[in-house]
């Protein structure tokens, strides 16, 4: 009567996934009628789970939200890191601000955007910049990567630090910044119940097992190997 998936009962599997995974997941689950993906921001997904949403698998775009789901008792399975995403220094096509490296972010004449520190791409960017001793002249702290890439692609911002996957989907130019290579964000998968039904476990294995189709799709899409 009520919810999106009633899990093991009808053999369907409900997968809650971070919205940055929308496209990949749609590819992965293409033709698999029994799997129902639901997309929203990781934090929204966790709030829904806490409020009693019925789902079988949770995939978040960072460790913090997954940790919260575990702490709230909404997720009982063991979280597993399935992919990572690297930060890149992105500019609009044609690089109108002549950005050559991370240090340029401190130029006051440039319009620079980062993610807000509250979201993973923002905390990553902060770490990377402080390690590189760059004090950026920031004009905006976007609460999600999508908003940041939109502004860069429209030329409203001259530069920003975004995930590699987002930069490539949005067709942004990237500037090589070696300081960023070590700064990555993890994607985690976990079963909602402590003892997942076999078909649920199968969906999880699809991402965790070596050489599995789900994981390969993630890598093909630009995500890094854990």
């Amino acid at each position: 009567s009520s919810t999106a998936g009633s899990g093991a009962e009808d053999g369907g599997v409900v997968v809650m996934a971070a919205s940055s995974l929308t496209e990949v997941m749609e590819t992965v689950f293409e033709g698999r009628e029994s799997v129902t993906p639901l997309f929203a921001a990781s934090s929204t997904l966790v709030a829904q789970l806490v409020a009693g949403a019925e789902a079988d698998v949770l995939i978040t775009a960072n460790a913090a939200t997954m940790d919260r789901a575990v702490a709230e008792g909404s997720v009982r399975g063991e979280p597993v890191l399935i992919a990572v995403n690297t930060l890149v220094l992105a500019t609009p096509a044609g690089n109108p601000g002549d950005v050559t490296g991370l240090a340029d972010l401190s130029r006051r004449s440039l319009l620079v955007g980062l993610c807000a520190a509250e979201v993973p791409c923002g905390s990553l960017a902060q770490q990377a910049l402080s390690e590189a001793s760059v004090t950026p002249s920031v004009d905006t702290l976007e609460p999600n990567v999508r908003a940041l890439t939109t502004k860069i692609s429209l030329g409203e911002l001259d530069a920003g630090l975004v995930y590699a996957t987002d930069a490539s989907t949005a067709g942004l130019a990237t500037v090589d910044a070696p300081e960023l290579h070590d700064h990555r964000n993890g994607y985690y998968v976990a079963s909602v119940s402590a003892e997942p039904a076999p078909e649920v476990q199968a969906v999880i294995d699809d991402f965790t097992g070596l050489g599995s189709t789900g994981a390969e799709a993630l890598y093909a899409y630009g995500f890094g190997r854990p």
Partner: protein
């Protein structure tokens, strides 16, 4: 008797002289119209016209359109059914704390949609204040159902309807209601045949506002009702998801949304509100 004004010599089509507006006001009015249209023109200009047919042909978009129409119309109906009585109570009853109650009605408007959705989960979610009883007594659970989307959309749209209609009721007064009563019209008949027709412009406006708000609603619906194709995924959600992968498609879907809104508003609203 000073300074006669030169006017177009076509009095047949002139508005009545007294209702003429100050000229600068008219300018500003048209300027405002222009400013309002500017972003929409911007959207149209960047629209991927050539890709449009293929994007709009996607079954997902059509499905989302269907969900959007169902959800927004049901939410509008709920707004009318609940909002009309509430507007009457606010405008015509002596209330104990009138100012506070009137302000409280507007609170859902100031909540950021995501918070509104969260609040709905707290109240009507499966573990919510009332939701837990709905679940255990009636087996009814609203989140992740079309009904849930309707509830979320109605929650954010209701204040618009109520506030608009209430203002009109105050402006209308009760002289005509009294006349109807002396002609044998009971409370219901007076309502249907006198009060509501008298505030028809505001009813139409309130309904249009509520519908438009429900149609564009996104944050509260997503948070409360989730995002499931064919059930809770509305056009704004489709747009949001499309933004993640293909911004052009998002613009295209927004165009659909606007076209639908325009069509509905043009055909329906002016039917209730002949000049």
């Amino acid at each position: 008797m000073s300074s006669p004004t030169r006017v177009r010599a076509d009095p047949g089509t002139e508005p009545r002289p007294a209702s003429r507006l100050p000229v600068p006001l008219t300018w500003v009015g048209f300027l405002a119209l222009g400013l309002l249209l500017l972003p929409i023109v911007g959207l149209l200009q960047r629209a991927p016209w050539s890709a449009l047919p293929s994007i709009l042909g996607e079954s997902e978009v059509l499905e989302a359109l269907r969900v959007s129409l169902i959800v927004s119309l049901a939410a509008t109906a709920a707004c009318i059914v609940l909002g009309l009585p509430l507007a009457f109570v606010l405008a015509r009853r002596r209330l104990r704390f009138p100012r506070i109650i009137r302000a409280v009605v507007m609170l859902p408007m100031v909540l950021p949609p995501v918070v509104a959705g969260t609040a709905l989960l707290f109240a009507l979610g499966r573990r919510g204040l009332v939701g837990q009883w709905l679940d255990s007594w009636f087996g009814v659970s609203l989140p992740f159902t079309t009904a849930g989307s309707v509830v979320a959309a109605a929650f954010v749209a209701l204040p618009f309807f109520v506030v608009t209609v209430e203002a009109a009721l105050r402006q209308a007064g009760d002289e005509l209601d009294e006349a109807a009563a002396t002609l044998g019209a009971g409370a219901w008949a007076t309502l249907a045949h006198v009060t509501l027709p008298t505030i028809r412009p505001a009813l139409a406006a309130g309904t249009a506002l509520a519908w438009a708000r429900a149609l564009g609603e996104f944050g509260a619906t997503l948070t409360f009702a989730g995002n499931f194709p064919g059930r809770t995924r509305t056009l704004p959600l489709e747009t949001y998801l499309a933004l993640e992968r293909n911004p052009e498609a998002a613009v295209a879907i927004s165009l659909v949304l606007m076209a639908v809104a325009l069509a509905v508003l043009v055909t329906l609203r002016d039917r209730w509100m002949p000049r």
